[in-house]
Amino acid sequence: MTAPFQGKRVLDLSAFAKQKPHAIATAMASKILASLGAEVHRPLPPQGDPFDDWGPFLPDGQSALARFLLVGRTDSAAIAWQNDANFDAAIGDTACVMNIQARFRLRISVFGTGEDPPMTELGLLALSGVLDAVRAKDGTPYRLAGHQAAYAAGLAAFTTVAAGLRSRCVDLADVSLFDVNCWLNWKAAATVVLFGSAAAQRDREQRSDWRTMQARDGYVALVYMNKDWPALRDLIGDPRLLEPRFATQKSRGEHMQDLNMIMSEWFAQRTRSEITAAAQARRIPIGPVLSPSELLQNPQYKARRFMMPDGTPRIPILWDGVAEPWKTAEGALNG
């Protein structure tokens, strides 16, 4: 069975990127392309692989990040990649990519078209407003776990290079780490652009009605639309929720603190699975906050063979029900 990018040669310059977000985004894009059959070459600088120094570290000292991102690369020690004009695509930061001959070149930068001030993933989340959306009860903003700022850019880079490989075009493309994160956070900016700052402020005051709630054994995500309110109210069954001040989304927003206090009692007395079962029976989209260790044992993930025994998740695409069907003749064994 033929893989989508079988026969395509891709140069992954993640080990040469001067900044970490660029390196991680490049490696994510290349990982996915490698899984789709591209022959991905990843040369290393003389001083070694920077990914080896990035955590988390496994008991054997190996980087879990390197293990996750760098599987499926071709050993590139033997090829003179700098003078090789036969790459179909190259991905990396500006300095790397501009010196490479490849049909399709994708450069990852902070602000697009090569503008690259010093930047971290925390900085990207802050500047793009993503951090502002994730607030604890005391108002402190928190980063999304892991490498979301770079991985999201890596997904955009994957799509862009996939398009370049398919069309066989000669081109130079740009993915901006900042633009991608703003693109994820479009609603905050669009609210201001379309309705003005005052509307954005009102939106902000009402938005905390989606939150996590403490359950007896952890947290659940309390997520509901206006249409779900009657079902949620009846589920909790506290007569105070029938008061007129909780009748509309607007008035609930104005009395958010009281509302959450009343609801929190109900949640705190029940386990995550009790809450989830009761909510799902009423089609309210509440779900349990599950830890990575719980995910390793999760029945849904087991049924879909989503993770290998070492915790590595497969690429989340099934092709006619099969993961990477081109890898084995039987295909189905490769879930």
């Binding site: 988390p56 602000f111 407003g129 479009w186």
Partner: protein
């Protein structure tokens, strides 16, 4: 001059709703595909409902977020619950390359459009099913919004203060709904690349929950090796000094060599980097529209057209699929083909 866009000549039937489905199709449009969005007169994209809609107007054409997300697509309003509507979409799929859908599992089957049947009938078609859990498994029918999947996919457990609560992005971002677009569009392009070589279509099963967990791959590997993952507040595994601090009432994100403000939507929209960037662009009428997260040096970065009104392309699309004017008129008379919903705005 021939259109040299990467997806020039590709036709997408878009049954995508809200962000996860609809914005995935928008990215295919941005790569050069023609996108035909199909909604039913009794089943509009829920994004068409918006606060402030006046029932006395064509409110369904005025939803700012709907129009923002769906700019540039053609619009057909066709009742897929009716067998006559189902017969029409089968005609449209004859000339389509891609079908994008993110209905609740089972809905497509109810329309007589099960992926299995479509694969048999249209072996070259790429069917992209974007769902919260995937096509099967014990949680298949669990109802979720994006932020539910942050919880069930492991992101929330690792996000937040180290001694406090787990956190989600919430209403404004619904993170899994956003990232899946960036990924699903690439998966579809890859399936087209494979079809170029083999002539075979595919049914792509894309689970947003799995993608959310995939984007924590190193944490899952570390956990499986016995290292307990935990919330680290604003520190990162490689820089425990990273933090967010409050100074003079404003939040600052501080890392080595990088100290930047935590922007809210207003500060973001006012910033020069944002305005020089690509996250929000404008349609030819000057209306703000969903931006494009990539640029090609050979192609101008612009939004080619604004949002079509509901059903604006009914006649043109059906005529090109070789339906006669009489057939089209009969569909209109019976309310199978429409230009307005059957209901008023949601309250």
């Amino acid at each position: 001059m021939a259109d040299t866009a990467p997806l020039a000549g590709i036709r997408v039937i878009d049954l995508g709703w809200l962000t996860a489905g609809a914005a995935s199709s928008t990215l295919l449009l941005d790569l050069g595909a023609e996108v035909i969005k199909i909604e039913g007169p009794g089943a509009l994209d829920p994004f068409r409902d918006w606060t402030g809609a006046d029932g006395g107007t064509d409110w369904w054409n005025r939803s700012p977020f709907y129009n923002f997300t769906n700019r540039g697509k053609r619009s057909v309003c066709l009742d897929l619950k009716d067998p006559r509507g189902q017969a029409v979409i089968l005609r449209l799929l004859e000339s389509a390359d891609v079908l994008v859908e993110n209905f609740r599992r089972g809905i497509l089957d109810d329309f007589g459009l099960s992926p299995r049947l479509l694969r048999e009938k249209f072996p070259r078609l790429i069917i992209a099913s974007i769902s919260s859990q995937g096509m099967d498994g014990p949680d298949r029918d669990m109802v979720s919004f994006g932020s539910t999947l942050e919880a069930t996919g492991g992101l929330a457990a690792l996000t937040g203060p180290s001694d406090g609560e787990a956190l989600i992005t919430g209403r404004n971002i619904n993170y899994p709904d956003q990232v899946v677009c960036l990924f699903a569009s690439g998966a579809i392009v890859s399936a087209l690349a494979r079809r170029d070589q083999t002539g075979e279509g595919a049914h792509l099963d894309l689970s947003q929950r799995e993608l959310t967990s995939f984007l924590l791959g190193e944490e899952l590997i570390a956990e499986a090796a016995g290292l307990a993952s935990k919330r680290m507040a604003n520190a990162s595994v490689d820089d425990l000094e990273e933090m967010v601090v409050q100074q003079d009432g404003k939040w600052l994100a501080c890392s080595i060599n990088c100290e930047v403000p935590v922007r809210d939507g207003t500060a973001l929209a006012a910033s020069p980097e944002f305005n020089a960037g690509t996250a929000i662009l404008h349609d030819p009428d000057g209306t703000p529209a969903k931006g494009i997260p990539f640029r090609f040096a050979s192609r101008p970065l612009k939004i080619l057209s604004g949002c079509a009104e509901l059903g604006a392309d009914n006649l043109d699309v059906l005529t090109k699929a070789d339906l006669s004017l009489e057939e089209i008129a009969a569909l209109q008379d019976n309310g199978i083909l429409a230009k307005a919903p059957r209901r008023g705005p949601a309250r």
